[in-house]
Symmetry: C2
Subunit: 593 residues, 2 copies
């Protein structure tokens, strides 16, 4: 079956759960008209259903090929990519000065979910280009921007981000690729990069590589890394393409999933070194990377949301079609669709609720990042920046963790058919698995949350968020709507757990860092479960107040399910954080015995 | 890396966690000497490491092939199978009257874990043969036993179990394969079966199929199903093989994992119908199936344990080797193995603790099933049968769920390398996924637990188990060993949650079955987390009392980790069961909007 973007759910999440409408009303989005969101998402949904979704399985089955130093993508992919750029989808949030539409990141976030849902391996390519655009726009010299930025914004050329080397994964500072200064002001780069997404392909004429390397006199570690722009083909003065640069794909990985997305080993220096142009300053490459980190991590979080929704839609359709057994108490002949069985309903609700919560967390992150650059008031900008920074690791890790959970449930709903590749459920399960790993493993996101985001300003941005979420809980409680069940109590308990756990960790970050690190992963889960539960409740409240929201009670039921099944775990996660550090840090006695 | 059977952990789990030693001492195992366990497991571990483990990846990469109505297995597999039977591994728990060694099921359970860990796709074949042996031994006529049983026990021939048809998966009663009575007392079977594991292969000369079909005058549903033995090749009076029977593999599935295990579509009737021999009575096939269900489900649970342990061992080795980053506070140059990082320790402890708990639950199930047939006292037998029946769905579902969780953590520990097939971590993740589905989906196990096992005798077997587990908790509490941390409190809370939830469900099974069904899955998880936590604590206490147990504190630390990270969720699972039935059963408003 194909994919249909759940426009109503997305708009409710964007406008109300994530606070876009309030931010627009407060003037933080300038003259942006939030009505445009519906139109953009409708169009994006149509393009995704018609063009991208049908290529998802073809991409998985055909994969990519490397021969003669060239990567060939799956049948239909170059054509789809051309249609993608022609329709302007690459340029949604790109800077207007370089041909972009300048739409908010929040709109592009919703679009990213749609691309990921319809075809996650395809959608990954523009995600990388977006990072390249950010790096170039923020740190590139004007002459480089003039040559490359417009082509990247339109998508005529794609971008790559090249950090990883065999000995330098999470530990970027260990990278060894070398850059030598050339007399003409450019650099000659040599070395080998691995795991380079879309490092080569046949969808565009040119590729703009962004490569981290080390100058001969650079200090050790992350303080000695510089960022270089390395075009696959040089660009002549008239804008035409010149000769080939010395950067080639020398291998491609055979992966668990994402078969259609080439993951390349890139070799530089077989012919004297790749010619690169410095971005930003020498030895300040990591700072350039930090510029784009929030948005790239949010993008991966949205992949989690998208693949989860795709798996949910497919499982829901299967559960309505597949007949096995009878509903309790049903008389007569014949069997019922399996959706009548409570255990199947539970799985589908779990899938939907997790997806909805992760979606809103991601959208809220995008709104915060938007406001941090769009608001007029510097204080508003600064608070929004802190909120965006706080939510980013949660958006990335919680959403991708649930991406794997939801796609696994999708397999389970299909029963034996779920294990058969032809069904397609297994592809989502395979594809989703990388999202918890790349762009900073989820363990690293948790550590970032505890040691940098929570610890910034004595936890101020956490307390600010908790205060806002408490407002939602009060409204749930005072609504006196019995359909909320125990939602209010669960959310309130969770907020208290999150508050106590945050204070405990904040103290430990300074006094006993290994204890804080031991609790980082359950803390992030506690955070996501609490924030997600509150935001879904906020959406449900908004739906009740909206004209023409269809049946608002379904949002109440969904928020309730999440609170009673996911947020309810907050208390045990709190205890795990506080109690289990000793067992974690004493693990060597068990593991190395 | 290869696999090494964790003999010490297995023996502690078997003898103390699962209660084998106590049962032997009580005389329930007759003259069985439990010292033999260590010797058998050592030998099994050696065979697995040397013969089976090296074929695991080869099997995955080569898969199986179907051509000319014949399935060919991966290179080296037929030879390994011959060595397997020659070494007597197929016959460990087989009946002595037919050449088996007659060892307890508990010993074979530990062996099954070893086979699954070293090569889950290989180990699956004898698991099916075991079910065939059980069916034939319990329900077959003497003349059939004489021809087939010895060959199945030795493994010279393998067995298949053929239930599933396209419209009949979980709903076995919907099957349509037809059996016609032939004048000679045999039957002619026609129809198509799907998802038949090792339905055909080249590892043995003959295959003995056990097929469910329906007589022309059979009542509808499960009450009209008969079981037939259908040999691939007929057996002549002198024991030599005769002509080919009319049952052929007509297709094989392309699956997410278990590539080396052929999953066949079997067609009967292209040449007049397969000749089958009735097992048990006409229309009583489901009863024959129930005979072997406990053991088959336990076998699949042990697959979960095995694949989890394999993933754990691989992740542990990787974490000791792979260097990235530095331990907190470490000075000097160079990076540390990632096992120094608390978040990596947490993942490894989670893997190990979940695996250990599932192992003990499975072994305890095996001991109960042993005692239910070996004890002299009928009352002891009957209580053990109830215990085995109660634990079976937990052994199956909890162990296979954690199989997927642990193999996923195994991928995560490997970082980006985990997503690369060459690493092998991804294979475990793919292979494990089917175990939650086949032999009764885990949803069906949960329903079985609530509606049949809990509800039997007013919950008597649950209360009996809880009483035993409470004894362990008291011993933890009175041990006053600070190394247990909050273990005692967590286990006590969990036992109370399990008690309250069981009573709540017991009442609902009768009065509001859909509410009971809605909570079945979280109830099973609550059950597994509680029983597993108590059993690990029991093992830790035993280790402290044992001479020469090495460092017993490591078992205390592991039990503590499990209690503080897994069992701690009991309270929230209790609330989920009791609170969320309304949202589950009202899900249509959300799902079908």
């Amino acid at each position: 079956m194909t994919y249909r973007a759940p426009i109503n759910d997305m708009l409710l999440a964007l406008n109300h759960g994530a606070g876009l409408q309030a931010a627009v009303k407060a003037g933080h989005y300038g003259d942006f008209d939030s009505d445009i969101a519906a139109a953009v998402l409708e169009e994006a949904g149509r393009f995704a259903s018609e063009v991208l979704a049908p290529l998802n399985r073809i991409g998985d089955e055909n994969g990519i090929k490397l021969a003669d130093n060239k990567v060939t993508t799956a049948p239909g992919w170059p054509d789809a990519y051309r249609r993608w750029t022609a329709a302007g989808w690459n340029a949604v949030s790109g800077p207007e000065a370089f041909g972009g539409q300048g739409l908010p990141l929040a709109i592009n976030a919703a679009c990213t979910e749609i691309w990921s849902a319809s075809n996650i391996a395809f959608g990954l390519c523009p995600l990388l280009t977006l990072s390249a655009i950010e790096a170039l726009a923020a740190h590139g010299r004007e002459e480089l921007k003039k040559i490359y930025l417009e082509k990247l914004v339109s998508g005529e050329w794609t971008g790559t981000m090249q950090l990883t080397e065999p000995q330098a994964g999470s530990d970027v500072g260990a990278l060894r690729s070398r850059a030598e200064r050339a007399p003409d002001g450019s650099y000659r780069i040599t070395g080998t990069k691995i795991f380079i997404t879309y490092g080569d392909h046949d969808m565009t004429d040119n590729i703009v590589h962004f490569v981290l390397a080390r100058l001969p006199d650079a200090p050790a570690g992350t303080k000695g890394i510089s960022l270089f722009l390395i075009p696959k083909f040089f660009v002549n003065a008239d804008g035409s393409l010149g000769k080939r640069n010395d950067i080639y794909p020398s291998g491609v990985e055979h992966k668990l999933g994402m078969h259609a997305s080439p993951t390349c080993t890139m070799t530089m220096g077989d012919n004297g070194g790749a010619v690169g142009y410095l971005i930003g300053e020498e030895n300040r490459g990591m700072q350039c990377m930090f510029t784009m980190m929030n948005q790239a991590r949010l993008g991966v979080g949205l992949e989690g949301v998208g693949i989860a929704d795709r798996a949910y839609q497919q499982a829901l359709a299967f559960a309505q079609e597949r007949r096995q057994g009878r509903a309790i108490g049903k008389k007569g002949d014949g069997s019922d669709p399996i959706i009548v069985h409570p255990d199947v309903k539970r799985m589908l609700m779990q899938m939907r609720a997790l997806t909805a919560a992760a979606r809103t967390i991601c959208y809220a992150t995008a709104v915060a990042l938007d406001v941090s650059v769009r608001a007029a008031d510097p204080k508003v900008r600064s608070l929004a920046a802190a909120r965006g920074a706080l939510l980013t690791p949660i958006a990335k890790a919680f959403s991708t963790d649930i991406g794997s959970e939801v796609t696994s449930l999708g397999v389970q709903v299909h029963g034996g058919m779920g294990f058969i590749e032809e069904t397609g459920a297994a592809q989502h399960y395979r594809d989703a698995r990388i999202t918890s790993i790349y762009e900073g493993t989820n363990g690293i996101q948790s550590i970032d949350l505890v040691t940098r985001k929570l610890a910034a300003n004595g936890g101020e941005s956490v307390w600010a968020l908790l205060a806002e979420l408490t407002e939602i809980v009060i409204r749930v409680e005072t609504s006196n709507d019995p359909a909320f069940g125990t939602t209010g109590a669960r959310l309130r308990d969770a907020l208290m757990s999150l508050d106590r756990t945050s204070r405990w960790l904040l103290e430990r970050v300074a006094s006993a860092p290994n204890e804080a690190l031991a609790g980082a992963t359950p803390y992030l889960r506690l955070f996501g479960s609490t924030v997600g539960g509150c935001m879904l409740a906020g959406e449900a409240l908004a739906a009740r107040d909206l004209e023409g929201a269809g049946d608002p009670e379904r949002y109440v039921m969904l928020a309730r399910f999440f609170a009673e099944n996911i947020t309810v775990q907050a208390g045990s996660l709190e205890r795990t954080v506080m109690d289990s550090a000793e067992a974690v840090n004493g693990a060597d006695a068990v593991l190395l015995a």
